[in-house]
Subunit: 334 residues, 2 copies
């Protein structure tokens, strides 16, 4: 374990990455070293998406939670790698399900190698992670990770079920977000606590922290889809709506706008016929009815809940870094 960076230097997310760069390098090496299938195509395709600028949020949180609970070992290298493989597997399948052409500004694997390869390499990365996780011989690690994967799949199906349908209760929206995004983040946080031999109460607190942070992340991301400067992410605004996905700002708007606006929005979602003019109008309505403010506020409250989950832990650099990471979920511009 390297020397703990000083708490006073951690002010922004960039400071967090800087402070833990060398500790995360081990995760990065594991990610590359582990891509050793005798079937070269697997390594090429997996390497394409794994080297496309992902921020390794899950391995970072796993590491921070482990350090918060006093862990001094290096199991986070392999565990962080495996969590990232699982995350990558879901991205490969998501891109097929969403017909996505771009991810992080680069062509998706399905655009380069086709849907078939993307499905099978996703299966490969997921099953490789499950194969390696069992070698830790920890029933609780197995349980936490398998639970997260199962819920992710359920969240994805629920999201697809509501595709093109704007009449989704907010509770189901939150359930989708919790399962498909927050579950693996929460599992990563809890795994950090597990390898540190933290108490059940601490494990539960860090699981909740990850859950709250993960929901905040996704709600903020869904809101940025109506507000961000598209250049930062290499994709245009309104992507969710174009794909028939109702997210929190839209659900709020549909609950407040006029019947005629509601009909227009429903029609564009169902027929996938959104024009740029429609989008400008919808974003204007969202500002008028306070839908953006509402969604940002919801995300903010999940961040506050995440920070409150850290109450029982001692102050220090890891706690400071986790708080900054939580704040970052609602302050980033993608």
């Amino acid at each position: 374990m390297s020397d703990q960076p000083s708490i006073s230097t951690i002010q922004t997310m960039a400071d967090v990455w800087d402070a833990y760069r060398s500790e995360l390098q081990g995760v990065e090496e594991q990610i590359q070293k582990n891509l050793n299938s005798p079937v070269a195509l697997v390594n090429t395709v997996a390497g394409h998406i794994l080297s496309s600028g992902g921020k390794r949020v899950r391995p970072l949180l796993l590491l921070l939670c482990a350090r918060l609970c006093g862990y001094t070992g290096a199991d986070h290298h392999l565990l962080g790698c495996l969590v990232e493989y699982i995350h990558t597997a879901t991205l490969l399948h998501d891109d097929v399900v969403d017909d996505a052409d771009l991810r992080r500004g680069r062509r998706t694997a399905r655009r380069v190698w086709g849907n078939q390869i993307s499905i099978l390499v996703g299966d490969y990365l997921y099953s490789k992670a499950m194969r390696q996780i069992v070698d830790f011989r920890s029933h609780i690690v197995n349980e936490v990770l398998a639970d997260a994967c199962w819920k992710m799949a359920e969240g994805e199906v629920l999201q697809l079920y509501y595709n093109g349908n704007p009449s989704m209760p907010e509770a189901d929206y939150l359930r989708i977000v919790e399962h498909k995004t927050a579950g693996l983040i929460a599992a990563s946080c809890r795994m950090g606590a597990i390898i540190a031999d933290a108490s059940p109460a601490q494990q539960t607190a860090l699981f909740r922290f990850g859950q709250h942070l993960g929901i905040a992340f996704q709600v903020a991301d869904d809101t940025l889809d109506y507000t961000a400067n598209g250049d930062c992410l290499g994709k245009a605004l309104g992507q969710d709506l174009r794909q028939g996905k109702a997210t929190l700002p839209l659900l709020h708007l549909l609950g407040h706008c006029s019947e005629s606006d509601k009909s227009m929005i429903k029609d564009r979602m169902e027929t996938r016929s959104l024009t740029d003019q429609d989008l400008t109008r919808i974003i204007g309505l969202m500002r008028q009815y306070g839908s953006i403010v509402y969604a940002v506020d919801r995300a903010r409250r999940f961040v506050d809940a995440a920070i409150a989950d850290l109450d029982q832990f001692e102050d220090g650099t890891p706690k400071r870094a986790l708080m900054v990471a939580a704040e970052y979920m609602v302050t980033r511009d993608r």
Copy 2:
């Protein structure tokens, strides 16, 4: 545990199914009971393919291997169900990868609900199985099953890599077959031995039995694609070739036929332009050059190896049933 059926009554595969029908009923109930996602669409889609006449070969072999090793409990109900879920997950993904419209004479899930749902419900069934398997809290069961899943994914990618390419070494063909088909069958057999607390030597012998039987099954299946009465399976002959897949009879033929015939076959595979006339000619060439006989003989030798793997076990009804099941791999007509 019900009374053991008498050894003398087990002559054919139908006798095996009859003898163990009531013991397999528990697997069937588990398969249905376990489809309890709050997302109803998951249950509908999974139920569609799980109720489409699959023979539950893997749960049967798991049960027979457990009984062979003296097991008297009922863990095979849930374990058999989970293995069947994993098998079903691979079928859902395979049908997307192969653009398949029919399976067992019924419309595939992707034809009824689309590729997206098939991918995600496949992910769901797989992750549900992995989630439930960890509740057994057996490291060796986790390891055996996760290993099989990982190898299956690798086999699938290797198969896709060779798609449309007739220049595949026979060793790679056998590697694909071993990974994609035999691995989960071998794991099922070994899990039967594990729940019976069988010795490591017995576990290894039954794993090998499953591996040999699984390879025989796939080689025979690939051969039936050039010989079977298509009506039995609800699909026409030559499907593998139409999909650009080279299997054992074709690889043998390509190693023996004239250069002009080889060019014709390569062209049809690469351009996916096989006519019925081409197929009739290719099947004629296979008969002329002994390719069908060669492949049937290879499958036969794997069955013999599987039966030899049972040498160390005591005679009795389970052993008799396993031998009949192994024989069935090369005597069935689909």
